[in-house]
């Protein structure tokens, strides 16, 4: 009796384990399929970039182009402004990121730790305007920037993005989460407010700063509408604007387009690979934010 009951229980447990394994397998299959569908377009474009003008059109398409044709890349790098665009994008994105992380963390500190009268109202205003996109403001922004004499300068690309309040709101949230004791101890020791911010708060919120930097950098890397409007000279085109110009002018050059798509994903791909955790925290910051 006892033996059969034990036997039954064991069998039951084994069945449950098998069911769990089957369910795990099904989930992996589904996720694998989804990931494949999401990533396949990249491979298809990479493939196209390694074919010459006639081979692109051949059916059925070759799934492994051998030998690969590198003419598209040669044309992209030497005959277009691609490298210049890439430099501009990286330069603008880095400048905006550096400035913004600094300004936003200071503003976040003020909003979190200093009791001053306007605080509440400033914070509310930031929350309300948080989602207003630069794209909806291009008319007044354009006239403002040209009134300031900034059209066709790097400043025109760097300054307007600094207005976005997301960073300050995020930093406030991070700093509010810190314990008060450290900062009070420092205050009793006679540290200045700036020294507290610089030597005590900033090191404590370093992970938050990195996440913020990643958010700002990727947003800048991807931004298109404002750079399109703020610049007319070729020297100041950023990557997205340059690529849109490639598409708009000079006929259908699929080889060149595919090469430019692949090449423009290289820097962000590298960053993503190195800073995976921080990138994925972008989504989590969405939960925190506002």
């Amino acid at each position: 009796m006892v033996a059969t009951a034990l036997h039954g229980a064991e069998q039951h447990a084994r069945m449950r384990l098998r069911r769990r394994r089957l369910r795990e397998l099904a989930r992996h299959l589904a996720l694998g399929l989804i990931a494949f569908v999401l990533v396949a377009p990249f491979y298809y474009v990479l493939l196209a970039s390694l074919k010459d003008g006639t081979e692109i059109f051949s059916y059925p398409p070759k799934l492994v182009p051998m030998p690969p044709y590198l003419g598209n890349y040669r044309e992209l790098l030497w005959d277009t402004g691609f490298l210049r665009w890439m430099f501009n994008t990286l330069f603008v994105a880095t400048s905006v990121t550096a400035l913004k992380v600094f300004l936003d963390s200071m503003a976040g500190y003020a909003l979190a730790k200093i009791e001053f009268t306007a605080k509440r109202i400033v914070f509310m205003l930031m929350l309300i305007l948080l989602m207003v996109p630069i794209g909806a403001l291009i008319v007044p922004l354009w006239s403002l920037v040209s009134a300031l004499g900034l059209t066709n300068t790097y400043l025109a690309l760097i300054l307007p993005p600094l207005a976005n309040p997301l960073g300050a709101i995020l930093m406030r949230q991070f700093i509010l989460g810190l314990p008060r004791d450290l900062e009070n101890a420092a205050r009793l020791d006679g540290l200045s407010e700036f020294a507290i911010y610089w030597h005590i708060i900033l090191p404590l919120i370093k992970p938050g700063l990195v996440v913020l930097a990643v958010i700002i950098f990727t947003d800048q890397f991807m931004s298109f509408t404002w750079p399109l409007i703020a610049t007319t000279s070729d020297e100041l085109q950023v990557l997205t604007v340059g690529i849109a110009a490639l598409r708009a002018h000079g006929g259908a050059d699929y080889g060149l387009w595919s090469a430019s798509a692949v090449m423009s994903l290289v820097p962000i791909g590298i960053f993503f690979f190195v800073l995976q955790r921080q990138f994925l925290a972008r989504s989590l910051a969405g939960a925190l934010k506002q």
Binding site: E24, E115, F116, V139, L144
Partner: protein, 318 residues
């Protein structure tokens, strides 16, 4: 000496007696110092915020009451731009296209993201490789995403038609008038589903485990747990995602410009696309451009208010 600190060391008060006037003066001084420090820290960021966000929002209102072009010579026309907006070439089309775009893409994004998130939260190992792959399209600039989609939707050698051909179907003109807007919306799904999937994963992992253990003990099936536990618990966060994804959806521009150039005809000309056309493609439509921008801004502000209320509620109720 900071009188304001509450926890002064013992003996401190005995040595230092302040007269009421002096107390008041020091208090005022400390408050002034706090005000100044506050603004010193907030000031630089706030200046940028005011100059490049608050002023332009107010500027949009001002511009929307003007008529004329970019190169000066504008004059005040009151509400004319708003009254004539429905009859202005392209304005209503742009609004309709944008709304249809959002109505197609937002539900697909969120349903897809929820499904992926439930799968991701359910597996025991190997999650990070899926996360990496599923998130990658999120990091593609809209312009590049649109270029990539040119290769998927091309009638002759596009991936979609190649797949259709290989199973013996008839090729489809993906970017024709019938499908262009839908394709644009699906492109947006491809780009954004990973973002919201990871957002939901974080929310699902944060749900209270005890409820699930209790439900399992009671013999609730996986489907019942999803239907009666997970989804109701996630309701607020899903609603938040709906609001934010809609706000983002209303801003669609770069993909439409590169993939379809707003066409065929005006089939994929969206609101911001139209603003851009009014600005640089016409000499006398700067007021109309601002009026239609203002419609977009007001819509976004209303959605933002809903979103703020949602977050307030979450902090209060749950």
């Amino acid at each position: 000496m900071d009188v304001g600190t509450g926890n002064a060391p013992p003996g401190f008060g005995r040595r230092l007696r302040l007269s009421p006037e002096e107390h008041l003066r020091l208090g005022r001084q400390a408050r002034l110092r706090r005000e100044l420090t506050g603004w010193a820290f907030l000031g630089p960021m706030f200046a940028c915020f005011v100059i490049f966000l608050v002023v332009p929002v107010l500027g949009t209102v001002w511009w929307s009451l003007q008529s004329g072009g970019l190169d000066g010579g504008t004059r005040f026309v009151g509400l004319t731009n708003f009254l004539t907006l429905p009859g202005t070439v392209g304005a209503l089309d742009a609004i309709t296209n944008t709304l249809v775009f959002a109505a197609i893409s937002v539900p697909l994004i969120l349903v897809g993201a929820l499904a992926i998130a439930l799968l991701l939260a359910g597996i025991e190992r190997g999650g990070s490789i899926y996360r990496f792959l599923i998130y990658f399209p999120v990091l593609v600039p809209g312009v590049v995403a649109a270029l990539i989609w040119l290769f998927l939707t091309h009638v002759d050698f596009g991936l979609f038609n190649n797949v259709i051909r290989s199973v013996g179907g008839k090729p489809v003109i993906w970017l024709g008038a019938d499908h262009a807007l839908t394709v644009l919306a699906v492109l947006d799904v491809w780009r954004n589903v990973g973002y919201w999937a990871l957002f939901f994963v974080a929310a699902i992992i944060g749900l209270p485990k005890e409820l699930y253990q209790a439900a399992e003990l009671d013999g609730a099936s996986a489907w019942a747990r999803l239907r009666y536990l997970t989804l109701p618990l996630l309701r607020r966060i899903v609603f938040f995602a709906v609001v934010v994804a809609t706000i983002w959806g209303l801003q669609v521009f770069d993909t439409a410009l590169v993939l379809t150039s707003g066409g065929p005809g005006t089939a994929t000309t969206t609101v911001i696309y139209r603003v851009w056309l009014y600005m640089f493609g016409a000499t006398n439509k700067i007021g109309v451009a601002s009026a239609i921008s203002l419609v977009l801004i007001v819509a976004i502000l209303l959605l933002t208010l809903v979103q703020i209320r949602l977050l307030r509620g979450r902090r209060g109720a749950d």
